[in-house]
Symmetry: C2
Subunit: 438 residues, 2 copies
Amino acid sequence: MKISIIGGTDGLGKWLAKFLKSRGFEVIVTGRDIKKGKEVEKELGVRFLNNNVEAAKLGDIVIISVPINVTERVIKEVAPHVREGSLLMDVTSIKEIPSKAMEKYAKEGVTVIPSHPMFGPTAPSLERQVVILTPSEKHKKSEWFNKVYNFLKKEGARVYILKPEVHDKIMAVVQGLTHYSIISLASTLKELNVDIKESRKFASPVYELILSLIGRIIGQNPYLYADIQMFNPRIEKIHKTFINECIKIHELVKSKDREGFVKLMKEAAKHFGNEAKRGAYYSDKAIFALTREIEELKKNIGKEIAVKNLDSENIHIGTLKEVEDDYLTLKKNGKEVKLNILRTEVYYNVDEIKKKLFERKYFDISVLFNKDVNEKIIEELLKKLFDLEIIDIYELNDKKSVTFRLYGYSKEELREKERKFKEIIKNIGGSLRYEDRS
Amino acid sequence: MKISIIGGTDGLGKWLAKFLKSRGFEVIVTGRDIKKGKEVEKELGVRFLNNNVEAAKLGDIVIISVPINVTERVIKEVAPHVREGSLLMDVTSIKEIPSKAMEKYAKEGVTVIPSHPMFGPTAPSLERQVVILTPSEKHKKSEWFNKVYNFLKKEGARVYILKPEVHDKIMAVVQGLTHYSIISLASTLKELNVDIKESRKFASPVYELILSLIGRIIGQNPYLYADIQMFNPRIEKIHKTFINECIKIHELVKSKDREGFVKLMKEAAKHFGNEAKRGAYYSDKAIFALTREIEELKKNIGKEIAVKNLDSENIHIGTLKEVEDDYLTLKKNGKEVKLNILRTEVYYNVDEIKKKLFERKYFDISVLFNKDVNEKIIEELLKKLFDLEIIDIYELNDKKSVTFRLYGYSKEELREKERKFKEIIKNIGGSLRYEDRS
């Protein structure tokens, strides 16, 4: 199945390309920047086209992933070329405008499923992620809809089906109010000329998390955030309410109205109900995720660990030497590698990682046991200490010859394993017959 | 060493009592509520006194942990009774007022170290937590100061020493602005009558995290938050700046000034510099902590795991049956236990947990090997499959008798281990001599 992603060289489009490719689909991406397109082509092993219409013609599924302010224009350009029997989707953060445009410009016989994946391009997978679909009644009954829905569920996503206008109403709060308050906070810290790095020294967990959310949002494409605020007419009321509440609380503090402040906070808490408690729990998990990770790392100082650099995707295997601030130091072939804990994933089961990463070397060694020995029992026992398997058995007079294949990742390691293996064999009633080095 | 915590039956005071007790100190707590005090006494194994002055007289260290609005009054009551040579501290979120009061009312010869632990009573430890100390120049040179400083560092805390007025200036932003914006958001959601639970269905990671921060704050004692806003005169300017920025952005959105919005956001991003990127990384760790935990859990379905209920501190060991939404289901002795993942800690190394939790049963079994067998090698090998040790060895003609002690947690488990052990022994050149059941 061919999937064309219109605007797939950047952001969420690129994420989708990578994700869908990893799930076995044939992916085509388009984009205006040819150089970037070629890079993405190489990086992800997908096909790049500098032509939206061409890509639309080729796709069994066509996904529009372009900025909000040009979404309508791109749909007008692309939708008429989507083949009958194909599926047309978008992934825009607003839904009324693109839903209408896709229905209007797509041919009869094309299924339209507008979507809003509620996450950014740093999500590790679809697990637990929210995806909102806003198909019309007609398309909701289509075969394509079933396929999309089942695929998303299988990937662990939380899928919701809404009318486009209900979606936009909810998003005015979920995205509109959230972004608005966070960008206002960012701008306030700038106006107050707060030294962010310095202030972080004195951070409470909540402040650190808020700073990190600000960093997360203001570091992204500002046009996306402008469009989310500006293309949703329901946001104006939200802004006004927020400003009112800020002024109300300011007045309470200024007039030292302690009971008034407490009343306001209690009423908000009452409105949240059980959700307040859940929030406290959830934020605990989030806040202490890094703390726990660092505690776990410290327990493993001196041990061999595998560390994946999330930026380069390189995996480093070495002895953990030090954990300090945001960094860990790994000793690797006599050299030291310093890695940012925030940008790594740590694996403590190093053997499993090695098996995935490296080609194993091996050597074969034959051992004589008494005929009545059960070699399966011996194998099970030795497997706890060695990466090995039995490759040959035959009886020889009153003896039994068992050939083991021992695996390792380097000559040195194999040599050491050989020594150890022979020592054990001698002590569990076996005697060496011959050995064969690969 | 005796530590008296004035106001130690609740909140951070109670946390401190538990923490310090776990570190081997003798702890006394005081509080107005005798019933609650008695409960804490029993729960934490500390001593409760319904008398602040008495507790102050007894402590080698006296820590004031009472609400901001009564801190000054309590210091006035308690400080004169702290013994010469003792240490007087507070843990209030503001520092100018209590620092002055302690210096004023404590006897000459009492060391005063005002402090502000920047975390709440849900912190798992002092690891990575910020603690600010605001001692005067004189007390900074004291022996007590060194002791406190070294203790905090050893526990992994990030310790900073500031002048009280600098502390309060920083906190006007770190706590003042943060709480103010979060409480304003909470009040806005209430005013807009947003169904929080329903809205969470459609949450982006940022919205979910913001909701959780709101829940975290509004679920706590509102008087603390009122006092933090009201006892710090620097906060008024902060409020005003925030309101201004909110209005500024509102105007940009209303007039559809896309470039103006982008400019404001870019300037804020510029002010954040590298901190924006760090924020994105940090929030990724926080946001995906739960996702990763759930992914890890799903990998372990069908396996035996240990799950600690963070509320009851009970540990459940069982087979992981299901993971759904916030819950995991454990099969335990034929029954099913459903636990909230947000309130649990999961351990995959079940053996380690069992060793800590349960008393081990054992049985001894003697095995004859050839005299030239190295029993250390056999022991090392068997330890990979069994929890065992060698407790006796002696030579017997051309044989060697080795007595193993095998451990387990139930008779059934031991019986199964015994069967397995005997089967292995037979196959590695050993023969049974006798056995002895404990």
